[in-house]
Amino acid sequence: MNTYPNPFSEAISYQRMEQYDQEHLESLSNISPMTRTQQPIVTGTSVLAVKYKDGIMMTTDCLASYGSLARFKNIERMIKVGNSTIIGASGDMSDFQYITYLMDKLMTKEYNANNGQPLAPENIYEYLSQVMYQRRNKFDPLWNALVVGGYQDGKSFLGYVNLRGTTYQSDTIATGYGAYIAQPLLRNAVEKKNGELFTEEEAKKLLDDCMRVLFYRDARSLNKLQRATVTAAGVTISEPYSLETEWGFAEHIRGYGA
């Protein structure tokens, strides 16, 4: 077959091309890529919540850790949304504070619409889980496990949603380390009641007991916690408080290098 020589071959400067390539590549490396949450940075640990007679009770501690460092010790990990819903968060705190912003935006929109139909906890939960699921679809997750608690029109609501948009509703919910340590205690307490609901005092004691165990065993926890309730009277988030602890038994624990 006949091949024709390139009439411009003399004119092409390969050296110039290589130089261009090099500059081009270097300029590429200066462009920072789009960033995503690839891992949580400043994190909160467990959220615990139960249904009880008057509504929902939820607790978190006030710590936001930076790896193993107890970085921020006065963080609120529960927010009030509207007058009948709370959201508690574990996982990345900056993502959670962004969610706080989203919720604010949502409630402002609702206020402006002023349609006389306040968003029910179920609606807020649905909105939140759709946000979480859509962010996971974009490979840009909000790195949290969230618990939504609410009480409206005599009905309690308790739901969970995580960074992949997985959802479930249950009478007891525990996230993070609490899923391993507190959830069995919570379920056990519920099953012992045989269908009856906790009184406020029982729920308080149960959650405090669980938080105490978590404080003993979860290294990323803090003995400074908040308790929130959602009842017919509305949402209350308590001031931070501490639990009585007993470390005498620690002497007898053997293992883990001791």
Binding site: P33, R164, T167, Y168
Partner: protein
């Protein structure tokens, strides 16, 4: 020209730390078609690894008076899929002034799953119901929309445990005599309950409760049957 090594992002390291968008929430679903009825059943446990998230997270959903869908695998994808199907059914209803038939839904579902071929819904779906002639029908899917019309099918974390049992009891496989199966509703429900009790015994992702949807020409009934919770 010898060039300096070009500084680039380290793709190998980034790939290793990449966010995994999937979760396996387990669960077993099955369906079987009778002459004039259909049964779709799914357990209600939602798990994550060795952890039980919730003892009642329904995986079977009623789509119309004639169709029920069961999904297992990644729960969030399952819910999203069901939600989108319901939306498409509503559009169809407003456009054509009729409820989508089961075979039409089956085709739609296949297309919807295949549309996400390169970022699939991680769910194993079974569609059960009555076809246009009022006969029981079951459609089985993989996660990217391969579909097959079958008489009976198990899917999800306990499918390997369940399917041989169905082959034997409904498919009447490996029989020396030419038995003819007279599959009554009662018998079918009994088989479903037995099947789930057995699967629960050996599959940790299956348990708590099974919801059995019985689809008849005059409506759908849902029966809950408790399973072991361990």
């Amino acid at each position: 020209m010898i060039s300096e090594p070009i500084p680039t992002a380290q793709p190998a390291r980034q790939m290793a730390n990449r966010f995994d968008p999937y979760e396996d929430n387990g669960g077993t679903t099955m369906a079987l078609a009778g002459e004039d009825f259909c049964i779709v059943a799914a357990d209600t446990r939602q798990s994550d690894g060795y952890h039980i998230n919730c003892r009642y997270a329904p995986k079977a959903h009623q789509l119309s008076d004639k169709t029920v869908i069961g999904t297992s695998g990644f729960y969030a994808d399952g819910i999203c899929l069901v939600k989108r199907i319901k939306q498409r059914m509503e559009w169809y209803y407003h456009q054509h002034d009729k409820v989508m038939s089961t075979p039409a839904l089956a085709q739609l579902l296949s297309v919807m799953l295949y549309q996400k071929r390169f970022f699939p819904y991680y769910c194993f779906t079974i569609l059960g119901g009555l076809d246009e002639e009022g006969k029981g029908c079951v459609f089985d899917y993989d996660s990217v929309g391969n579909v097959e019309r079958v008489k009976y099918q198990a899917e999800g974390s306990g499918k390997e445990l369940l399917q041989p049992f169905l082959d034997s009891q409904i498919g009447l496989k490996n029989r020396a005599t030419d038995d003819v199966l007279d599959l009554t509703e009662e018998k079918a429900i009994k088989i479903v309950k037995d099947a789930f009790s057995s699967v629960t015994e050996r599959d940790i992702h299956t348990g708590d409760c099974v919801e059995i949807y019985i689809i008849r020409k005059d409506g759908i009934e849902c029966e809950k049957y408790p399973l072991k919770r361990d």
